[in-house]
């Protein structure tokens, strides 16, 4: 289905000098989309060219529109030699394809070169005319909205949550192709950037298709990752949660449930369903468009794939439409596009719009039919006769297996797609996973605990990129494991689900984790749409539900929860979902301290954000467990075995650390738990971060008691007792610090089964601990299920390390969840920090203890330097702290692949760098009683900025100058600076905020403009001249930020929410003075308005963000 893409090159500015003689540049621009290229005229002798070109028009398929980026290359015209490239701009036009998002992309984009960085800017205008797409059999999925946000986006309500979608695409890495030996680094980098851009476009499109099949119109919690597998290829994979979202009309959001179908054509699915008759009419036309893609090869393949699905369908012998099917199918001109036709006609006639009718059933039963759904895959292959096939598909639909539609729909050329689609029919129900971490009230019924699975794999070359079977199978395996873990916990779903990999040479560790949970089935049933008042709640999810009255939502009527034993929302999620007498792991259960009716565990670990309605005592805090384990250098199989042997121990130790630190802080629950294991050549690193809180519903944690191994030794005993005292003191101190004063004397009231055990828990000796571990391993295959209850330490050092955690400076709070539990007064002064630290190890430290110390210090220092930087902003809170650690492998130290493989001897002795990337946001709370004095200061600052805020929106400039506010300028700058000077020429640059949070405090997001997903490579051959590793990374990160902001501004947005730096791969070869860095960032572009003045002015922005790259090369 064609669309028309139009681009206009307006002007350039700040171009670099390309002609040394004249100190000027003769610039022109190439605009490329797909295989079509246009050029502007040469604008001679200027660093600020005004091309003002005509509209370049590209007539393309919307499939290409989704996959391809618009590629703009700025060149310097040279009469005698080849034209020199100045740099490029890639523009993802996906946001233009949804009618709800942006309508035009217009603005200044930094011109980026992978060797030189940003070199000037270019002003571009892009529009898309999309012919209304009525073809139901297309390959494209325009209109499906993508959100990185892991909650229901603020200006939408979830009508239906369909469930897990996943996809992966594989390709050869251009960096490792033979051609790379002869092309320039720049060409190779650009090939890579372009390929990844293409692949993520394709991935998004395919996921979009799956969503449309499921009847959804959006993907929430979209998480895309790259696996740079080196020689064996490049994998781009994504997971997300398919939803049907309805847009809320601003203003009415708070008091009506108006089901807004104001944008009927945004969600093609619903559109189609609304007009069934039209659908049928249009279909022949559609074939014409699609025919070019068909090839016999694919049809053969597809039928083979599809055959699997027969297993379901045979049982429902509906042949009503068979006739039609056959007839059409025999049409020789369109052999493949036809079969789906009747399938697509069917849904409207058989099901009420806009949701697939049977989804909820499948969802609910998901846990039980795992085994069943698995069987088809191994099933036999029935004769691949095409008519038969279509027939089966047909019946599939009528039988009400909503997700089954997928089987027939994909008639396209990509057999991968077909296969996956076929599989997806199973998987939809197979994996009741949700990538969301924050839920509409009432969605979450009970939480079981963290479930995680890891598997160590040996990478092999992906021979056929179209058949990424092995990778699919790997993930499939892991997801199955997760699912069985969840089942063991008595839960039917997994929430806060995420997947990750770490690769070192040919060993790859795949990890997945999530939180086992019971969900309210109503959210997955179409009925909830009309559920009246209750349903309004889930849609609303107040912009700052955490702010203020946590209890207000607490009164949610239990009737609509759909559970007999309706429990109050403030504690309901804590109640155990599993059977009390058949517990999956050792845990002490007590009656809920809140409602006293249900049993709760003594500790709760989760990967999700703290539910807004949860009752919390005191404040939360960041808890981190860090661990290094050395391992021998090894190759292939041996290496993989060594790693997989180490993994359980690492997890166990991380867990123990977390548990101890949690107790030390007198808390009883962890939220947002994220465990990262990174593998290096001779070590494994584990980093677990979470936010600890004291849930009022859970019992008070017992203290920590140390018991020595050899109680006879007197001095040892003394040592133990001093330690014990220190620990007790720390606990008391922490109670004060985090304001945890739980009501005492509750236990007596409730007949708790094991009342004495929770008071104080004994640390058992080493021998006992290993017993417990093994016992755990035996517990019907749940060795990685993270709901272990172990109160134990191996060695005294562990306890010491427990105590060495530097306390947070007064006035600071930190957490890795979106909001800080226990703090409700946020200012809108928000800043994001990214900090990267590279640490070079030398051989001497290569013991477990030594490494642990280094690693811990590194993490602590990172936090400390941040506290230090922000010391003037006290009180402030660091939210969404996100640590990432990587151990680049030896070989990668070589940046240029032209060089031979052996590194210089010195280098190979020195082991690996630890690369730490982390992002964080900082929000300063304000105006509470405790912080009275500081409040003034903060607000003064805000006023000040308000005075200065300039905003452009879509070209028109609005300047807000307020004369009535004369904020006192801080003393340092009060001298004569406020003269009447106007600022630097022209319109001020739009201020774009970036935040890893899904919201901006005290603002309201009025529009989501589309997903930002960008990938950059930067390379240098003059590392020292650019300020070493630190300088290089610092400027690169700044450049990435600039490009992200420029794209958002061009879409008309003023903020990026849910921003994250997914990937930051750094490689260096100091000997050759070279370095290379890859960065992938993503987020949601939005328009927000301040809550106070939302009616009037487009945003007043307060600040931007900072990239700080601290890198300490110790060599």
């Amino acid at each position: 289905m064609p669309g028309k893409l139009k681009a206009k090159i307006v002007a350039g500015r700040h171009l670099p000098v390309m002609d040394r003689a004249s100190d000027l540049t003769d610039a022109f621009v190439e605009v490329k989309f797909g295989n079509t290229t246009f050029k502007t005229d040469v604008y001679p002798k200027s660093l600020n060219p005004q091309w003002n070109s005509e509209w370049f028009k590209f007539e393309v398929d919307d499939e290409d529109l989704q996959d391809e980026p618009l590629q703009i290359t700025v060149l310097d015209h040279d009469t005698y030699s080849a034209n020199d490239a100045i740099g490029k701009v890639y523009i993802d036009i996906d946001p233009l394809l949804s009618s709800e998002a942006a309508t035009v992309i217009s603005g200044w984009f930094p011109i980026y070169d992978t060797i030189h960085g940003i070199r000037g800017e270019i002003n571009v205008l892009v529009k898309v005319d999309l012919f209304n797409d009525l073809n139901r059999f297309r390959q494209s999925s325009c209109g499906v909205k993508f959100f990185c946000t892991t909650s229901i986006p603020r200006c939408y309500r979830a009508a239906l949550v369909h469930g897990f979608v996943e996809e992966l695409v594989v390709n050869e890495d251009p960096e490792y192709q033979w051609i790379d030996r002869i092309r320039t680094p720049r060409a190779s980098n650009e090939a890579r950037q372009r390929l990844i851009s293409l692949m993520s476009g394709e991935l998004q499109r395919k996921i979009g298709l799956k969503v449309l099949e499921m009847g959804g119109n959006a993907v929430v919690g979209y998480l895309q990752c790259f696996d740079l597998e080196g020689e064996s290829g490049l994998v781009v994979r994504a997971i997300g949660t398919a939803c049907t979202l309805d847009k809320l009309i601003p203003g009415t959001a708070s008091n009506t449930i108006t089901h807004t179908n104001t944008h009927p054509n945004t969600a093609p699915a619903s559109n189609a369903c609304n007009s069934p008759s039209k659908e049928i009419k249009e279909s022949p036309l559609a074939h014409g468009c699609r025919s070019s893609h068909n090839s016999p090869v694919h049809s053969a393949c597809s039928s083979q794939r599809l055959s699997h699905s027969q297993n379901f369908s045979v049982s429902v012998p509906t042949l009503v439409f068979t006739g039609t099917v056959r007839e059409k199918y025999e049409d020789p001109t369109h052999p493949l596009s036809v079969p789906p036709t009747p399938l697509r006609i069917l849904p409207p006639s058989s099901s009420p719009p806009p949701f697939s009718p049977s989804k909820p059933c499948s969802r609910q039963s998901s846990s039980s039919d795992t085994d069943l759904s698995l069987t088809p895959k191994m099933g036999k292959t029935p004769p691949p006769s095409s008519p038969f096939l279509t027939l089966s598909c047909c019946s599939l639909i009528l039988s009400g297996m909503g997700s089954g539609i997928s089987v027939g729909k994909e008639a396209g050329p990509l057999k991968t797609l077909l296969r996956q689609q076929a599989q997806s029919a199973l998987e939809q129900r197979e994996f009741p996973f949700f990538t969301l971490t924050c839920f509409p009230p009432g969605f979450l019924v009970h939480i079981g605990g963290v479930v995680s699975a890891r598997s160590v794999k040996l990478l092999d070359r992906i021979h056929n990129p179209d058949e990424p079977e092995t990778r699919d199978a790997w993930w499939e395996e892991i997801r199955q494991e997760i699912k069985s873990h969840a089942k063991a916990l008595g839960c039917h779903a997994v929430v806060g689900y995420s997947e990750s990999t770490t690769i070192c040479e040919e060993v790859c560790i795949l990890s997945a984790s999530g939180t086992a949970a019971m969900l309210n089935p109503r959210f997955m049933r179409e009925g909830c749409l009309d559920a009246g008042g209750s349903d309004q709640r889930l849609s609303r999810q107040p912009p700052l539900s955490m702010v203020g009255s946590e209890r207000a939502e607490g009164e949610v009527s239990s009737s609509w929860l759909g559970f007999d034993d309706a429990s109050p929302p403030s504690c309901g999620f804590c109640h155990i979902p599993y059977d009390e007498f058949n517990m999956p792991f050792p845990a002490q259960l007590t009656y809920c301290y809140h409602c006293r009716r249900q049993k709760v565990p003594d500790v709760l670990f989760t990967t999700i954000d703290l539910p807004a309605e949860a009752a919390v005592t005191g404040k939360g805090c960041l808890i981190q467990a860090r661990l290094c384990r050395t391992k021998k250098k090894a190759q292939g199989e041996v290496n993989a075995t060594a790693i997989s042997n180490l993994l359980p121990f690492m997890e166990y130790e991380l867990h123990t650390q977390l548990m101890n630190k949690l107790k030390l802080r007198c808390m009883n629950a962890l939220f947002g738990l994220r465990i990262q294991i990174s593998v290096g050549e001779n070590m494994l690193l584990g980093l677990a971060s979470a936010t600890g809180v004291y849930l009022s519903a859970l019992p008070a944690p017992g203290g920590i008691q140390i018991a020595g191994k050899t109680p006879s030794d007197l001095s040892y005993d003394q040592h133990i007792s001093t330690m014990q005292k220190r620990i007790n003191d720390t606990i008391v101190m922490n109670k004060e610090l985090y304001n945890i004063h739980p009501p005492e004397c509750i236990e007596e009231v409730v007949g708790s089964p094991i009342p004495d055990r929770q008071r104080s828990r004994l640390f058992r000796s080493t021998s006992e601990s290993s017993d417990e571990l093994s016992e755990l391993d035996l517990s019907h295959g749940k060795k990685d299920a993270f709901v272990l209850e172990i109160d134990d330490t191996d060695a005294v050092e562990d306890i010491q390390s427990l105590l060495t955690d530097a306390p947070i400076p007064a006035g600071f709070y930190s957490c890795n969840t979106e909001v800080m539990p226990g703090i409700y007064n946020w200012t809108s002064g928000l800043q994001m920090f990214t900090s990267v630290r590279v640490y070079r190890l030398n051989n001497a430290n290569l013991t477990n203890q030594g490494l642990n110390k280094i690693f811990t210090d590194l993490c602590e220092n990172l936090l400390k330097s941040l506290y230090f930087k922000l010391r003037s902003m006290i009180p402030c809170c660091l939210c969404h702290l996100n640590f990432t650690v990587a151990v680049p492998e030896e070989e990668l130290i070589q940046v240029r692949r032209h060089t031979p493989k052996n590194t210089s001897p010195i280098l190979s002795i020195f082991p690996r760098n630890i690369l730490l990337v982390h992002m964080r946001v900082y929000v300063s709370p304000v105006s509470s009683v405790d912080y009275g004095s500081f409040a003034d200061r903060c607000s003064t600052w805000l006023e000040l900025l308000r005075l200065k805020a300039h905003t452009i929106r879509r070209g028109s400039v609005k300047t807000i100058s307020s004369s009535e506010r004369c904020s006192p300028l801080p003393e340092v700058r009060s001298r004569s600076l406020r003269s009447t000077r106007s600022l630097p020429c022209g319109a001020p640059v739009t201020v774009v905020k970036m935040t890893p949070l899904s919201f901006l405090p005290r603002t309201r997001i009025v529009k989501y403009l589309g997903i930002i997903n960008m990938f950059f490579i930067r390379e240098t051959t003059s590392l020292r001249e650019e300020g070493g590793v630190s300088g290089f990374l610092h400027s690169f990160i700044a450049e990435v930020f600039a490009m992200v902001r420029a794209h958002v501004a061009a879409l008309g947005g003023n903020a990026v929410v849910s921003y994250s730096m997914k990937e930051c791969v750094f490689m260096e070869n100091p000997n050759k003075n070279q370095a290379q860095c890859l960065i992938n960032v993503s987020g949601d572009a939005v328009i927000f308005v301040r809550e106070s003045d939302q009616e009037a002015i487009p945003p007043l922005i307060t600040s931007g963000q900072t990239s700080t790259t601290g890198a300490d090369g110790t060599t």
Binding site: R13, H14, W108, P110, I118, E121, A806, P807, F812, G829, Q831, N861, K864, S865, Y867, F868, K869, L870, R871, S872, M873, W941, L944, L945, L947, K948, H950, P970, V972, R973, S976, L977, S979, R981, L983, P984, C985, G986, P988, V989, V991, V992, G1027, S1030, G1031, H1034, A1038, F1041, A1042, M1043, R1045, A1046, S1103, G1104, Q1105, T1106, T1108, T1109, G1110, D1112
Partner: protein, 351 residues
Amino acid sequence: MPCYWWRDHGTWCSVLPAFCQPVSDAVKVRMDEGALLECEANPEVLTSDTMDQFRTFQMCERLLHSPTKLGSQLLYQIPAQNQIILIERYYEFDSVFAREVLGKKLSKGTKKDLDDISCKTGITLKSCRRQFDNFKRVFKVVEELKGPLVENIQRHFLLSDTLARDYAAIVFFANSRFETGKRKLQYLSFQDFAFCAGQLISYWTIGAMDSMMEDMDVDLEKEFLNELKDLKVLVNDKDMMDQHKILVCAALRGKIKVYKLMEVNFKNLSRALINLASKLTHTKDVRDLFIDLVEKFIEPCRYDRWTVAEITLFLTHYTNAAHCLGTFRHQMIWDRYMGVIKSCILQMYHE
């Protein structure tokens, strides 16, 4: 790159001078200031923080070289207010340093002398370089531009009015290469010269008389300097000189303590001022304007212990009396000349 901590903590501002020294020194300075006491920082944290600041500064420095870019660049998102501070701080200079290079050619040669200046003034070499480069950069940009000098500087460098005026003085001095280095001129500060430059720019350049004229503000008006020769009549014509003296004496009698000395020296003083005027056609003599003023006028007065008030009175009446001379026809030129000379002398007349 906008960060509260730059400003709120004065980090940026306090560190800016520190950017002119090695990281280790800056760290030491901060340690001495007690930075370690805050937030449980350790030396490592402080070093890395300082390095961050340095790097950030280095990256911004490129933009600060052309401040107009700062507003439109996309690399750093700096709030407008902070942009202004940044520019202002970066272009700030030490008047001691400026005094040293005033009137010198802003060239490589002078740059080599920076070592000496650094030793002499106690300003770090790096700082000297920055200041010198700033002077040179501003000079190069506005040198060839038409229109009012101060406005040009403001437009291209977005400086505050005061700072732009100072830069205008530096550019003006560098262009005309006024002699300022002589020992007798050492007592004059940068502010003295800057004031004089302001006077010269305002009254003696082409732009000064005709704001419509799209000409350079950097050079003195040739025509005017030529016409100054006509003033010679005041000393050459004996009658006129006597009459001038009588008029001045009549006006000042009893009003100044040094009346006697003035009466004796009147002819010398008058001749000094008039000769100075008539010589200004030669570039060489223009350069010596200030040394001449000091040697021929200021020093004799100082020797006779004139007070500033007395000089003010004298110069006022000296100027006005010429209007009463019936045969003197160059009133316009006279006023334009004496106005500037008077204010310059008054500014320069101090110990």
